[in-house]
Symmetry: C2
Subunit: 452 residues, 2 copies
């Protein structure tokens, strides 16, 4: 079982070596022992040329379609680029409509129309293309199983036996009324266990949880997670079922969103997976955020320089610049992280966000008083000839922490309220503003207290 | 459907108000309209006393058991504290064994034994208690459905009909050989669709993906996500199936792990959900990390103070301290984030981590050269009387970025190799080390170049 469990780094290296050598028979044999999901994982570490070469070697078209649906978006673009429209259309016809729609949405505008024309199952895919990719509509599949509420368990089982091909992974039987509105749900198991003559209306769970097609994918994921669902129905305004979002897609959404939040907090949005990117890509990815840091830093150096006279008189002042900046930055990062996570899990709700922000500021001020006092004492003892330097440091620490906790918790909430991604809030703009404000407070308080 | 979809902030407020007023009949009515998952979400924002009061009002014991299994760990402790052993045992008997084992593991040592003795389904729970909570064994449920490989589809359906109570959410039929080793798997749907006389061996998928009970929950989650599974079997060394981990538990694991990574990166490990914690808790949560930052800052101020003579001669030097620290810190954060995410998704594998670290350092050095040059030019033009200050700044930026990208990418990998959580690597210790090293390089290069 071991080589089935996951690909070792060694297997991956073997794959790449065989592709480079164009060792077709050996590659075919190796692939026949691995699932498309595994081959997709291997391909994500290859160059485009290698990926195309490997893909072209595969003969089984169902395997090709399955593999294509598991590749990264960039790989799909690279591979479909070199195919004729009828080949792409044939592969799409072999996929689930939701996977096919995802691939179609990656094709260049001018090719898309022609590929759809070549397809046999064009309609289902075209319907799905009408929804934004990050909504319930964009995630849903039209491969669901529904029965009228007047039907019996036995009728449902017979219906399933008829439609065996289209419903490969069906988990639930959705029950609809005469107007085709969703009124209940029952597990596949109940259909088997109950006597065949039992009406569905008698065994179904009423008012099942559903979402509208416009609902954001993060919210869909929250429902599926909270109610432990295998799939969630997507209904239109009249309550008619349009499709279902399955839990495996939800798992992908949760992983994506978590990764995006993490990356966005470090100014790394749109980061490709490690291994795919060249040094140039890596530099480009980081350059923007760091350029903002650089500009903030230059402004900061001008601010400090504006106080060069003060610094010349009391050299001890310079030493505390880093600690004031560091404390403010870290408190701001902590508040922002709690806000971003709370907004993601629903624990910080937009309506009740004020109490969250208030408690963050309280915490910031409390720590500010505590550590400000410690630093004030340290500063006064360390530089007994200018004890007021310590006081200035303490006051600035307090101000920096209060401001940082307010901005750190408030900005994500504000962004979220404006429909923006809160995770970008920890970016250099906010950090730089907090830094500059702290330095200004620091030097001005110091000048005031020291009478300079 | 709207109030079924999710709890509005208003409904939550209503719940709390009714609990405070001890309005039992109104609360019972309100609860009858909400699922246990929703009531659990509401309770997570209440005080322990309110939670206990609400829980005591519920009469339906199956509802109580269901609700208990959805509460947070702290709530479970608070609520079970005030119950007699036989009441707890009765609730546990109404849960799935894996949920029951989770609750038992939270009970105080001396109570645990007595509760288990009172239980009817003690054995299944005791077996599960033998596994660490964050492994496949700790996650698995013993409620799975298996059949011998010589059985037919019809026999499997009849078996399902017999065991209808224990297997409420079964998705797959696992097929075992004469030695009870797992040899295949088939969907529930196939059992219905195929003619009853079809042998399972003929329709099953062979060599199904499985994990050992000791496998880490993150790895279990990766398998389930990669292969789009509804559940994954957990097998012993001989290949005999011990239990299954279902996808809803995997969804919880993925959410937990993502939240933990995010929080750990901001020095907020073990953060309770917002809303539950007092200001004291909030301060305590942040205090450690910030204390480390404070200590690092004080050491930094000493280092800067050691160069006070140099600073007194060239005041412009002080202005660049913040930008050098900021650039190093941000590059380090970016490298660490990519490493943590890559290790979590499996894109950075421990065996092939060297190429990742190398590419991070290359990116760090490239940006260091780029931005170091920009800052060197700026510094020379801005302070024409001491142009070498700019050069010192540029060299220090380069050194800080190279060091930060090396430490930022290398430390998570090293931690992971030692079996530690890589997400703690962005902590203040690493940041402080990078900061201090950058400042030392900066002043020493400046002294050398300026001949001070």
């Amino acid at each position: 079982v071991s080589d089935e469990r996951a690909l070792s780094a060694r297997t991956e290296a073997l794959f790449r070596r065989l592709v480079r050598r164009e060792a077709e028979p050996a590659l075919r044999k190796l692939m026949s022992h691995h699932r498309p999901e595994d081959v997709a994982a291997v391909m994500s570490h290859m160059t485009w040329a290698e990926q195309r070469r490997l893909y072209a070697m595969i003969e089984d078209r169902d395997y090709k379609a399955d593999l294509l649906s598991h590749l990264t978006e960039d790989s799909i673009v690279a591979i479909t680029q070199e195919m004729t429209e009828d080949v792409v259309a044939d592969l799409l016809d072999r996929m689930d409509p939701d996977d096919a729609a995802d691939v179609v949405s990656l094709l260049p505008e001018e090719v898309r129309e022609r590929v759809l024309d070549e397809m046999d199952e064009e309609e289902a895919v075209e319907e799905l293309l009408g929804y934004a990719a990050d909504t319930a509509g964009g995630l849903m599949s039209s491969a669901f199983f529904s029965m009228p509420d007047v039907a019996t368990c036995g009728a449902a089982v017979r219906e399933l036996q008829k439609n065996s091909d289209d419903l490969s992974d069906v988990q639930y039987c959705y029950v609809v009324d005469r107007e085709r509105r969703l009124v209940g749900v029952t597990s596949l198991r109940s259909l088997i266990v109950r006597p065949p003559a039992t009406p569905l209306a008698q065994i179904m769970t009423r008012t099942p949880i559903s979402v509208g097609p416009e609902v954001d994918q993060e919210e869909v994921a929250r429902f599926v997670a909270r109610y432990d669902l295998m799939s969630i129905p997507v209904c239109d305004a009249e309550g008619r079922i349009l499709g279902i979002v399955t839990v495996d897609d939800v798992v992908d959404v949760i992983r994506e969103e978590a990764a995006e939040d993490l990356l966005a907090m470090a100014g790394l949005s749109d980061a490709p997976d490690p291994g795919e990117n060249s040094v140039i890509d890596a530099v480009r990815l980081r350059a923007g955020w760091l350029l903002a840091t650089l500009c903030g830093g230059v402004i900061g150096s001008e601010v400090v320089n504006g106080f060069s006279e003060t610094l010349g008189q009391v050299a001890a002042l310079a030493g505390f610049i880093p600690v004031i900046m560091g404390m403010g930055g870290n408190v701001g990062l902590q508040s922002a992280t709690l806000a971003i996570r709370g907004l993601a899990t629903g624990h910080v709700q937009l309506g009740g966000a004020m109490s969250f922000i208030t408690s963050e500021v309280k915490a910031g001020v409390t720590i500010g008083v505590l550590y400000g006092t410690i630093l004030a004492l340290f500063g006064s003892v360390r530089y007994p000839e200018t004890p007021l330097v310590g006081v200035a440091v303490g006051v600035s620490i307090l101000a920096a922490m209060a401001g940082a906790s307010l901005l750190g918790s408030g900005i994500p909430v504000a962004l979220s309220r404006m429909g923006q991604d809160p995770a970008v809030a920890t970016g250099p703009l906010v950090t730089t503003c907090i830094d500059l404000a702290s330095i200004l407070v620091y030097f001005n308080v110091a000048r005031l207290l020291l009478g300079l």
